[in-house]
Amino acid sequence: MKARNIILFFGFLILLPFVSKAQQKYEREYRIKSEIIPPSANAFIGSIGSDHKIKWYKEISLHDVTIEAKFKHNMKKFSVEFDTLGILQDVEFIIDKREITPVVYKRIKHKLDILYQKWKFQKIQIHYRGNPRDIITSINKNKPCKSIKVYYEIVLKGKSSGSAQLYEITFSEQGEIQGILQIIQDKADHLEY
């Protein structure tokens, strides 16, 4: 038990820069009409072949402005991001924790144990980045092509130093931490008081 605590302590020291540098995430989304979507973005979404309704949003974050399509396909919730010219940025869809390779999942879990006293998954998304044609192939085969980059974007409730916060943590395909963002929660005083 003591050895485990020592390992956790040193692990925490290694991961400390990620904890202390957790930047903040703020996003603002507006619904936009499909008529104003760049043709290349529309064409990419069409090639996925979803039977469900496509909802388009303009997303303003702390750093940039993007266009996002949200829809369901093969029982999964998809979110596809383009820049304002319609160039594909990435494709994300929600997965279950059991869909992560056991070795990678174990690595992710171990890192989260070090970072937080208590944590709980809120949402896990797999994130594809790369050539649009290879991404379409990966979606159709339900397995990522070797040519595309894969990340896991995990939203979780993490408790450290007494207070619980919401975080978005990006892991590489191998389960290494790529970045931590603290999600800014909207004020709710008008609902509470």
């Binding site: 989304e29 916060q165 909207d186 709710a188 008008h190």
Partner: protein
């Protein structure tokens, strides 16, 4: 509009009804990650009252003002415990209320929902102590986009059930409050609503009160 006005006048004449307006200012301040304080001022004004036979039904009457100070402590990601005190100032009397609340938030699709379970005890020199147990559900529905942002409108719906005991008599009050809100900026929100209260549900003759509310959150 004329028919609605006539119908509401007939309804008002049949049941014990009061109507008026409540402006309120609600200031919330985060002390740190965990603690926050909330100060609220509201005043009630009647413009219609058929519960007393002393005067005409349509008449402006100032009723009371409430001043409250609450301290909240976050106990989870979306939950907090709140304690505080409210002072009720009537033209001829003063009363005090101790307040204890547990609030937690959930999300249903794009709707933010807050649940408030509360107890309060009201003390005054000329009335017996009243103890209440209440549950309020508040839902916020964005009218554009996935969530409510600055310069956007939202719909807010509050409903609350209040169980009260005073002089060994139990009573139930129900409240239904639809609101239209607008987020001016990160700090300020303004809401216009209709606060409908059905008082004395059990045993006594039900009294209906409806207020136009104007809330300013800062």
């Amino acid at each position: 509009m004329f028919i609605i006005f006539i119908n509401s006048k007939i309804l008002c004449a049949q049941t014990q009804t009061r109507a008026g307006f409540i402006p309120s200012i609600n200031y919330n301040h985060k002390i740190d990650k965990v603690w926050e304080v909330n100060f609220k001022f509201e005043s009630r004004h009647f413009v219609f009252d058929n519960t007393t036979s002393q005067s005409g039904d349509f008449e402006y009457t100032y009723s009371l003002s409430d001043v409250s100070a609450l301290v909240g402590r976050k106990v989870g990601l979306n939950s907090k415990v709140v304690l505080g005190i409210l002072t009720r100032i009537k033209p001829d009397a003063l009363s005090y209320r101790a307040i204890q609340q547990f609030i937690f938030q959930t999300k249903i699709k794009n709707f933010r929902v807050a649940h408030r379970i509360a107890t309060d005890q009201t003390f005054s020199s000329n009335e017996s102590t009243e103890i209440r147990l209440r549950y309020r559900l508040s839902a916020e529905i964005p009218l554009s986009g996935l969530k409510v942002d600055a310069k956007e409108f939202y719909f807010k719906f509050n409903t609350e059930a209040l169980n009260g005991i005073q002089d060994n008599e139990y009573d139930l009050e129900l409240r239904v409050v639809p609101n239209i809100g607008y987020v001016i900026n990160e700090q300020h929100k303004i809401e216009l609503g209709l606060d409908n209260r059905f008082v004395s549900f059990i045993d006594n003759q039900t009294r209906f009160t409806s207020w136009v509310t104007i809330n300013w959150f800062l």
